[in-house]
Structures are given as C-alpha cells and as structure tokens.
C-alpha cells in the first residue's frame, strides 16, 4: 500500500511487534512445508524406518501447533485498528 503515502515509517514498539508477528504467521506454513518434506531427503542411501519418520513428523506437527498458538495469540486484532491491517495486507 505504498501508494497511500500516509503510512508512517516509524510505529510504536507494540505495533511493530504485532506486525512482525504477522510476518511470522506468514512464514510458519513455509517452514512447516519444508520440515514435512525433509524425510524425502533421508531416503538417499536406504529407506528410513517408518517408526522413526513417524516420530519426527509428529514432533514437527506438535511443534507447529505450539508455535502457531503462540503467534496467533500475538497477532494484531480487530481492535488494533485497521491501519495495521492495511500495512500488513499481503500482495
């Protein structure tokens, strides 16, 4: 929304933090996708054990849930005003 021209360059610390949380929320699925695909690379020499892979996948899964819970709690809310939303609006 750069054409708006009215968005301040510097915002207060709290708003800044919330915006970075929104960035984190956007990056989390990418990180998750990468981690979920990792077992594919283990299969180069010999196929990994299902049990091990299962442990890995479920650990990543739980980790993602926890991180997602933490991030979601800190994301900008409706009450944080719509300007933040403007700024954080994706492409």
């Amino acid at each position: 929304m750069s054409e708006d021209g009215r968005i301040p360059v510097f915002v207060e610390r709290k708003t800044y933090r919330r915006r970075r949380m929104a960035d984190a929320a956007r990056m989390l699925p990418m990180l998750g996708a990468m981690l979920f695909c990792l077992p594919l690379l283990w299969a180069i020499d010999e196929e990994p054990r299902t049990a091990l892979t299962m442990f890995y996948l479920f650990l990543v899964w739980v980790g993602l849930c926890v991180v997602s819970a933490v991030i979601s709690a800190h994301l900008p809310t409706e009450a944080d005003n719509s300007q933040t939303e403007d700024q954080t609006e994706g492409p």
Binding site: A25, A51, S72, E89
Partner: protein
C-alpha cells in the same frame, strides 16, 4: 459377539441424542442463550468434517497400502490452517462482508455476480461431491455388514441397499429439519454445528480409544508397538517424492475448496477471531486423528487374516479381540464421520443448487419478475429442501449403480482433484484485481475438462465413455494424449498427474485469458472490494435509486425474508432516514443493504437480479465509476469548479475596473466642471462688479456709456440667472419634484416651436426636416419635450464643425412610441466620450464657450420623466441623438 440388534439400538439412541442436541442448540440460540454455542472450540470442532468416514476408516487402509503416506491428507490442511493469516482470514472476511452463502456464491460474487460461473461451480461441486456421499454410505453399510457377519444369531442377511437407503433417508430428514430452519444461509445453523461438534468429539474419542487399545492393550506398550511396526510390511518409509508433495498440495487445495469445508469455515463462521484458536487447535485435532493410524495398521496386518479389508481394521480389530463395546464405539465414530460429512455437504450443495440453479429458473419461469403472486420465501425453502433430498438421493443412487467396491474407495482423492479446480479462480479473485469473469470461466472449464478426461472417467475402468484402448493408447492412437500420461509425462501417479496438469493448465488459461480480456464495471468494483477487503469492508455496485418503488421492494422482501423480518428491516431503515412509517426512501445505500440481506437468503446473483427487476437495471452509477477511477474524477470536478469561480471573479474584477474607470472619469469631469462653473460664475460676476464700480466711481459718464455699462451688467446678470436656473432645473428633475403639464398635440407643432426657438433654419445652419412625416399625435408634456428638442438643435448649432452644417431631423413610429433622430454632419462625438455626454457637468471640447454642460443631463432627466429616453446613436456620420417618447402612456398619466 455383538448382536446386530444391540448395534441398531445404540445407533438409534445415538441418532436420538444427535437430534436432541441439535434441537436444544437451536432453541438455545433462539432464546439468546448459549454463548457457548459460539465458542471458538465449537468452531474448531465443526471444521473436523474434513475427517470423513473415508479418513476415519480409510486412513488405516491407506497406511496398510502405502505406509506413512496417509498423513499427507492431513498435512495439507495443517499447513493451510497455521498459515491462516494468508488466505483463510481474507476468505472469512470477504464471506462476512459480502454475506457469501457458498463457494459458488463467492466466485460468482467476485466475478461480477455472474450466474454462469455460479452454475458451473455448482455443477462441478455436485459431480465431485456425489461420489463422496456415496462413499460415506458405503462405509456405513460396510461397517454394518461387519457386525452382521459377526452376529451368529442373525439368520437372514441384511441387505446392503436397505441399510444405505435408511441411512440416506435419515440423513436427509435431519438435514432438512435442522439445515433449512431459516432461509438466510448466512445465519448460523446452530443445531447442525452443535451436532457436528459432538460428532467430532465422538469420532476423535473412538479413534483414540481404538489406538490406545491397540498400543497398550494388544501390543503391550509403545516399545512393543514400535517393534511390531518394524516387523510389519510397512516398516520402511517408501514414499515417492511426487506423491508426498503432490498429495500434500492436493489436500491443502481441497481443504480450501471443498464446498462443505467452505460451509463450516466461512459461512458458519461466527467471529473472525475464532480462526485464531482454530489455527493451532485444528492442526492438533488432525494430529490426534492420525496418531494411531500406523500402529493400528501394523497390528491389524499382523493379527487379522490377510483377506480382511484393511479399510475396516479400526472396526475388525476390536471385534476380533472380543471388545464389543469398543467396536460399537468405533462404529459410532465411523458413523459420525459419515453422517456429519453428508449433512454439511448436503446443506452446502443444496444452498448452491437452489440459489444458483433452481431460483433463477423459477424466476425466469414466473415471468421474470419477483412481483408475481406466490411466496418466494416458500419457494426458496422448498427448493433447498428438495435439493437436499435430491443430493442425498443422488449419492445413494451413485452408490447403488456403482455397487460399491474399490472404484468407490478411490473416489476420495479423485473428488479432491475435482474441487481443487476452484482454487485458481478463488485465489486469483482474492488476491489479484486483474482476474476477471471470462478468465475464471475459461480456467474452470479447462481444469474441469482435464479432470474428467484424465482422472474421473478413467477411474471407472473400461467404460463406454472411456474405453480401455483410449486409456492405454490415447484417443485415435495419439500417444501424447493418453489420459494418464498427458504430453508424455509417464510414470507419474494418476492422481498427482491429473492434479498437476489440471490445476496447471487451469491456472495458465485463467491468467492468460484474464490478461487478454476486459472486465465489466461490476467485476472491477467487486474485484476491488474483494482484494482490498481490509481497507474497506463495504459492498460494491450501488443502486441508482429513485426508480424503485419502496412498496414493491417491501412486497418482494416479505416474500423472501418473511413479513416480520422484512418490515423490521424497512422500518429500521426508515427510522435511520428520519421518515416516520414503514417505507424508507429507496436510496442507493438502502438498496445496497437490502441486496446484501437478500443475498444471504437467495445468493448474490439472484438477489441482484431480483432487485434489478424492480429498480430497473443500472447498477453501476457514475459515482461508482468515479470511485474506481480513484480520485481523478473528483479532482477534475474540483478544478473545473475552481475554474468557474476564477472566471466569475475575473468578470467581477473587470466590472469593478470599468466602474472605477467611470468613477475616475466622473471625478475628473466634476473637477473640470467645478473650475468651469466657478469660471462661469466668476466671469459675469467680475464684469458686473467691474462695470458697477465704474458706474459708481467714475464721474461724468455719458448717457450712452451708462446705458452700455448697465446693459452689460444686465446681460451678465441674465446669464448668471440662466446658469442658476439650469442647475435648479436639473436638481428639481433629478429629485422627481417636477410637475408635468400634460397636453395633446402633434409632433410637427412641437418641432416647429423648437426649431424657431433655437434660431430657425438659415444658410449657416440648415435644418433638414420632412414635415409630412411628422403628423403624429401625442400626449405628453409638450413644453418639456420642446425643451429637449431645443437643446439638441442648439447643441448642433453650437458644436457642429462641418463647413455647411446640416441637421437632419427624422421621426418614425414604432409600436406606441415615437422615435425622433437628430443627426448632424459634423465630426460627431468620440467613442470614449459617448458614455459621458449625458452626465452632469460634461462638456465636450473646451474651446467653444457655451453652457455649463448641463443641457444633455437635463434632457436625459426630462425624457426619463416623460417615460421616454434619449440616447446617443452611434454609427452615423456626425453626432446623432435618438429621442424615444411614448405616444400616450397611462402610467405617465398616473404619474402626472
């Protein structure tokens, strides 16, 4: 062994519980109680309809066949859910602000409320979902059969078809009862959602219970279980990369695009912030659902006979081990998964079918107007109920015709690929303003065609539509058109192959056609509204009101929303507009609000069509287009207004300048006059004083001298008197204190008198008259009129500088006025003086002695009193004056 009768009783009891929960939730919501109905946990649990019987039973079968690969079905939704900030947030916001009723409605709404698109999306959704419903019926039937086979007391076999029929019938009744309580699909179906949430708990609990039983009951702990997994055929992680990635992406796409997911995620969403909880709670739910799948598969493979169906391990393992209670619980879990999916899918699809297919057809059949007799509300509700029954029946029919079996089991992923075709149009519509209707339609058609050709039709094997030789060698033997190896891409899994090609070509066509075609104004408006939904959450396409009749609108709305709701809405709007009574003005704002409310009941396209029937088209007003053209238009309008203002100011300035010039000139004239008048007064005074002093002081003046001097004094005194008379006369005239003496006479007489008084015509100054044209009778103050004429004639005599001065006097009649022109052959009056000659004290040329410059001013005043006028007549050779005088004016008489 569990008896089939016991199972039937439990099943019926469970259904009764479901009905009561739904009923209680609806009642609680109706009475405003039950804030817990709107909790984020209920929302999260309702999302669990993603896990159908196919995943409840099928996941284990999937794991038996291909190991850990089954988790991809859950990984996709997990990634979408934790990335809710990207897409789901926007979808939910758009859905709420535009009152979206289904995914077909969303796509149609975004692309200019196009019903063609909505119909296409609806058809594709029905084609994709019907087999899926059949799959649910099959799973319930199969699980019943398992019990029947194990029930030793049961003599006669239970008909598969009859079970499926009763289940389908019960589901249709439930859905109709609780899914069509209210017409507004945008209102929440609290009963349904509550029942689904309960079922979500039941199925999770059932699967976890079986899992715990398998791990700790059968295997004897985690370590033992791991050892069993390592000993089983699925001990190694043998997954092809393309399937792993492809299926994850496919399930992610389907999670967004499935009509039933859209229904619970967007349409039934109560509060946007519920996504916050669902963002971690739903992935956790999915994780729990898939946690024990591999152990169950491994133990099942070990313990059960090799011929048994791996898709039913969840059920057969407890049965085999004699755990009847657990088996029944497991059965209920599967039953819950199947029923909740069918219920929500039927609601979602029936909304689409009735709003986008049945209602438009009904409107068209009923003469294309919503004003004809008949209750639209009832028609819409009936359409939805019939649609629900129809869709469930279609699923049943599909199940009967296909006869169950492996073909049906594979339909889950095939159905996913079908609905994934909505993805490009959906995402493009949400994030790209350039996406347009033609592009979306072209992309959808392309994607659907490839899906049908390369996946759906081949899935039935050798059929009339897709014979075996086409599958193997391509149509007409064209190798690179083989349905499962398009363009030579051999060796790919059919699902991944079809998914890749259909979505890729769908997206490509969508993008290219969108780039090349031009959207309609409504599409552009909606595009802006959708893509920038966080900037302005309004609706687009205002109505240009005025033509609409509020009463017609009310009649229509009552038929759709019900009288009480419609009247409440209208009187609320009227109150906001400050109007007493029920009918508000059909302002664009009100029409917009009404359309949005109606679209909650019958869908955006139909609501739009209904209002435009009454309002009369024209949905994009000039103001909207101006809004689209950003602020340019406003700026232009503002600048043109400024321009007009500037022009006006310039005009005023010019007038002021002219007035100022005139004032300055007048001031100069006045100064000149003052010096003139003092000179004029002083000259006779000086001679009077001088000659009277001579007569007083000089002794022995002769009689002649005395006479001469006293006559000079007398002449000068007369001159002085005349000057003062003139001034007095003018003053009297100007103050309108003059008394007019009205007489009748002819113009000829007046002119004769004036000419002789002014010295007559002689060789030095000829007066050219046409007496035969001067026989005009008139009634006026003839003395005053003569005075004006005398003044004009003597002026000409005084100032005409021609060698042989001639004054032409011409008279003519125009209507009830006489026009007399006095034109001499001199050099005339310069242009710049023409405006000043009638002013007091004005004198042209200082050279010739004469009056004090009061003559013409007096003339003007006299003519004004006589209701006539005297003007300078430009464009003649010499000086020319035109006198206009009324022949007989009653107003003059009255004034006189």
């Amino acid at each position: 062994m569990a008896s089939l009768n016991a199972l039937a009783i439990v099943c019926v009891l469970y259904v009764v519980v479901l009905f009561s929960v739904a009923f209680a939730a609806d009642r609680a919501a109706l009475h405003g109680r039950g804030a817990w109905l709107r909790s984020p946990i209920v929302y999260t649990l309702s999302l669990s309809i993603y896990c159908t019987a196919w995943t409840f039973y099928g996941a284990v079968g999937f794991a038996v066949r291909s190991g850990l690969e089954y988790v991809t079905i859950y990984l996709g939704p997990t990634l979408i859910m934790i990335g809710w900030w990207w897409t789901l947030r926007k979808m939910v916001r758009v859905g709420r602000s535009q009152r979206i009723t289904s995914i077909a409605d969303l796509i149609s709404s975004r692309y200019g409320k196009s019903n063609t698109l909505a119909v296409f999306v609806t058809l594709l959704a029905v084609i994709g979902t019907t087999p899926y419903i059949a799959l649910q019926l099959q799973s319930v039937t199969l699980s019943f059969q398992i019990f029947a086979e194990n029930d030793l007391l049961q003599r006669q076999t239970v008909s598969q078809q009859s079970i499926a029929f009763w289940v389908a019938g019960g589901l249709a009744v439930f859905t109709i009862l609780f899914g069509t309580r209210n017409l507004d699909a945008n209102e929440r179906h609290h009963g349904v959602v509550m029942a689904i949430a309960l079922e979500a708990v039941v199925k999770l609990f059932a699967l976890l219970a079986v899992g715990v039983f398998v791990v700790w009951g059968l295997s004897g702990g985690i370590g033992e279980t791991l050892a069993r997994i390592d000993a089983s055929p699925i001990k190694n992680f043998e997954v092809s990369g393309s399937r792993w990635v492809g299926l994850t992406m496919l399930s992610a796409a389907a999670f967004i695009c499935l009509p039933r997911m859209f229904q619970v995620m967007v349409v039934e969403n109560e509060d946007e912030s519920h996504l916050r909880t669902a963002a971690w709670a739903f992935p956790a739910y999915l994780m729990a659902m898939s946690l024990f799948v591999v152990p169950i598969a491994a133990v099942g493979l070990e313990k059960l006979p090799s011929a048994s169906n791996p898709d039913l391990f969840v059920l057969t393992l407890p049965l085999q081990e004699g755990q009847d209670g657990l088996a029944i619980l497991s059965f209920l879990g599967g039953f819950s998964s199947a029923t909740s999916m069918v219920i929500v899918a039927a609601i979602a699809l029936s909304t689409m079918v009735s709003n986008h297919i049945v209602m438009p057809i009904w409107l068209w059949m009923s003469g294309g107007t919503a004003m004809v007799s008949g209750d639209v509300r009832n028609v819409a509700l009936l359409a939805r109920r019939i649609s629900i029954a129809g869709i469930v029946f279609l699923g049943y029919l599909y199940f009967r015709v296909s006869g169950g079996g492996a073909a049906l089991a594979a339909i889950g992923l095939i159905s996913f690929v079908g609905v994934a075709q909505f993805l490009p149009a959906l995402m493009g519509g949400l994030f790209w303003r350039g996406a347009n209707r033609v592009g979306a339609l072209a992309g959808l058609v392309t994607g659907a065609a490839i899906w049908l050709y390369s996946l759906f039709l081949p899935s039935f094997g050798d059929t009339f539509l897709m014979p075996q030789h086409v599958i193997e060698h391509g149509p007409l033997g064209i190798d690179w058109l083989r349905p499962q190896a398009l363009f030579g891409t051999e060796g790919l899994d059919p699902i991944v192959h079809a998914f890749m090609w259909s979505v890729f070509l769908n997206t490509l066509v969508f993008l290219v056609v969108s780039l090349l075609s031009f959207p309609r104004p409504v599409e552009r408006l909606q595009g802006a509204q959708f893509v920038n939904v966080f900037q302005h959450s309004g609706t687009a396409g205002t109505w240009s009101g005025g033509l609409a009749q509020s009463e017609d609108l009310l009649i229509m709305s009552q038929r759709i929303m019900g009288p009480a709701e419609a009247q409440a809405l209208f009187s609320e709007a009227a109150k906001r507009q400050g109007i007493a009574g029920l009918l508000p003005e059909p302002t664009p704002d009100f029409l917009q609000e009404l359309e949005r409310v109606l679209s909650g009941s019958v869908g955006a396209a139909t609501a739009h069509a209904m209002i435009s029937q009454i309002v009369g088209g024209a949905t994009v007003s000039v103001e909207d287009l101006m809004a689209v053209a950003d602020e340019t238009a406003q700026i232009m309008e503002y600048s043109s207004r400024l321009e007009a203002k500037t022009e006006e100011q310039a005009r005023t300035a010019r007038q002021l300048r002219e007035a100022n010039d005139k004032l300055t000139q007048l001031s100069v004239q006045k100064d000149a006059f003052l010096s003139q008048i003092s000179h004029e007064l002083r000259t006779p005074m000086t001679s009077i004083r001088a000659f009277s002093e001579i007569m007083r002081d000089t002794e022995g003046l002769t009689e002649d001298e005395q006479n001469k001097y006293s006559s000079i004094i007398h002449d000068e005194a007369v001159r002085l008197t005349r000057l003062l008379d003139d001034l007095l006369d003018l003053s009297v005239l100007e103050n309108a204190q003059v008394l007019l003496n009205w007489q009748s006479g002819t113009l000829e007489e007046v002119l004769d008198r004036a000419v002789s008084a002014a010295g007559g015509s002689d060789p030095d100054f000829q007066i050219d008259r046409l007496p035969q044209r001067e026989h005009f009778e008139l009634r006026s103050d003839l003395d005053r009129l003569a005075q004006v004429f005398i003044n004009l004639i003597s002026n000409a005599r005084k100032y005409c500088d021609a060698k042989d001065p001639v004054l032409k006097i011409r008279a003519k009649r125009s209507d009830d006025r006489l026009i007399i022109d006095f034109i001499d052959n001199g050099s005339g009056i310069p242009m710049d003086k023409q405006t000043l000659i009638f002013e007091k004290f004005s004198r042209i040329g200082e050279t010739k002695a004469g009056g004090a410059g009061l003559g013409l001013a007096i003339c003007r005043e006299v003519m004004a009193r006589l209701s006539g006028a005297i003007t300078y007549l430009p464009g003649q050779k010499g000086a020319a004056f035109r006198v206009t005088v009324p022949i007989d004016s009653p107003s003059v008489k009255a004034a006189g």
